[in-house]
Symmetry: C2
Subunit: 361 residues, 2 copies
């Protein structure tokens, strides 16, 4: 047995110092009456070399400079400074963000990126400037299918018989694999299940303690829910008698993720216990896009074709579905879950979620 | 607080009874001097209906019959019976398999499926016959990026400060997300790290107690390792001073998964602490395909083009890499990790892994 001393707290401190240092440099330049500028190694192909000693690629000596005094630089300079500000807040408050969230978050500051490629690129710039990976300043990519909440399970797999785990044990969420799928439910204090399409939002809900504030078990579907996940949701609903609320992107594909959890797919017509007919699709609705003035994209031809298919699908006969399909067709827009970040990262938890759960209760 | 009584053991019993019942029916038919046959609901489109009461799709009354007395049925009848036999063993021994493993496992019985589409289809037939989802008889799809092994971590995320988790707590593996990425290492008894490309093999290694038998921390890369996962492997190697062994598919893409863990990518040239230069690519090598007579596929034109690129890549200068690239080009074949299942599910753990770890030690 070896004992390892703590070091991640130290790393966080160093990142915060680097970000503060960047800010101080800019302030100093302004105080001296200069247009502020930032210098960083160039990431262009002709400045990337393989270092046989480090055994990895490295950047060469070429530098680029972004200056507020250059009309061609001012936009990207400003975006870089904002991004540094934003991730410093994240890191200080120990919250995380996805790349996608960050892209939308900028809009809360009336400063928008052309597309996510641009914001991803600025993040990479910032990594270059401060010499830390974005994970160190709490910006993560998408995660995977998992569950989190106050539910104690008992394993049935070899070596774990009789062992129990509470599903709040690991705050990244507990993976839904063979062992969890085959576990028994022992006890829960939860009174509802919230299923979520996207990993970033799932992590957000854990961080914001949705499981505690709303007494909920959170399930990440990670896009179209794998069958084991649909079976798990079915068990939560039937064995624990918990109502299920589903949150997806606001587009025909998100709708259908909810529908497959609720009513299953044609491919599984020969099976039972995979559906949760009483589960409720709580959003993002087409009417939410209108009511919450969400940032949105135009529906594509493929989206519209899909809506026409869904309109004819027997599973979509209900009033809610028909209304939302009609609204999508009328507004010709779609919106992702992360679009709520335009009102701040916690808006979706503080405002949208309670309104939705009340509306559906 | 509600208390839920156990029920998953019961379900396992019912599946085993259903499989046994199927076998008994066939024996009885044979004893009566009849060609055995199996009847099941048809899954063709014209027999799929939406049931508004159940609120899901169901199969109609049309049946199909597979008979050993019909020359056109005999192959699929035999494959169905073998599959029932195979999954009964799985379920009795409480092991799991992926769909891909099952496809290869058939070869151990000198009975081969045309392609995975065929074996997947037979599995669906079996689900239809016995009325249980394949998860109930332990056949799962691929899983995701995760870690498992005797390593105790201490969280640094809000609400979890000072809390510790041992990474053997959840036998599906512990997800590598923000909370794990930011956790400190407290102690471990492991003396090595084994990184694995595929989810099915990762689960296999847990089930076969590789972490105990080989004193290893297991990391699932789930294809190309996400950056947080590469950073995590780097920390295991540097903070805990553990050697790292990487197992991937035997093709240029698997090779490159290993290489990106070892030497990083051009995209991350401006960053440090993402690479593990001393990590070893342990297989599946091109020479393994030859030495272990693995089931293999022909290299495609795209594969060969990729090999030519790798041959010129500075990261691939080492003797091992050049030898394997040349062997791939010579044999013009590739093999997946699951290919070892042709020698039985545990062969890869009992024979291949110890040989490889010894060879590299």
């Amino acid at each position: 047995m070896r004992k390892i001393k703590p070091s991640m707290k130290e790393r966080r401190k160093r990142v915060l110092q680097a970000l503060k240092g960047l800010g101080e440099k800019i302030y100093t330049q302004i105080e001296k009456g200069k247009f502020p500028w930032i210098e960083m190694p160039s990431r262009s192909t002709d400045n990337i070399y393989y270092d046989p000693e480090l055994r990895q690629y490295i950047l060469g000596d070429k530098k680029i400079r972004r200056s507020a005094g250059n009309i061609r630089h001012i936009a990207s300079f400003t975006k870089l400074v904002w991004t540094a500000f934003f991730v410093r807040e994240l890191t200080r408050e120990r919250k995380t963000s996805t790349l996608r969230d960050l892209y939308y978050s900028a809009q809360a500051y009336e400063m928008s990126f052309k597309d996510q490629a641009e914001s991803d690129n600025i993040i990479t710039d910032l990594e270059t400037v401060i010499g830390h990976a974005r994970e160190d300043f709490n910006v993560f990519p998408e995660e995977r299918s998992a569950v989190f909440g106050d539910l104690t399970i008992e394993y049935n797999v070899p070596g774990y018989e009789g062992k129990r785990l509470n599903l709040t044990s690991h705050p990244d969420g507990v993976m839904i694999g063979p062992a969890l799928t085959s576990a028994d439910f022992v006890r829960t204090s939860a009174d509802k299940v919230i299923a979520i399409e996207k990993g970033g939002l799932f992590t957000r809900f854990i961080e914001e303690q949705v499981y505690r504030k709303f007494n909920a078990i959170l399930v990440l579907t990670a896009g179209q829910a794998p069958r084991a996940t649909r079976a798990f949701i079915h068990r939560l609903n039937t064995e624990l008698e918990l109502p299920v609320y589903i949150f997806t992107d606001g587009d025909p594909w998100g709708m259908h993720i909810a529908m497959v959890i609720i009513s299953g797919s044609a491919n599984a017509a020969h099976l039972r216990d995979l559906t949760t007919p009483d589960a409720v699709w709580s959003g993002v609705w087409a009417t939410d896009i209108v009511n919450y003035k969400l940032p949105s994209d135009k529906l594509t031809d493929v989206d519209i074709k899909r809506l026409h298919e869904l309109a004819r699908d027997p599973r979509y006969k209900g009033e809610l579905w028909q209304r939302e399909i009609k609204t999508f067709m009328k507004i010709k827009k779609k919106a992702e879950q992360e679009a709520f970040s335009r009102y701040g990262l916690t808006y979706i938890v503080d405002e949208y979620l309670p309104a939705k759960l009340e509306g559906e209760a």
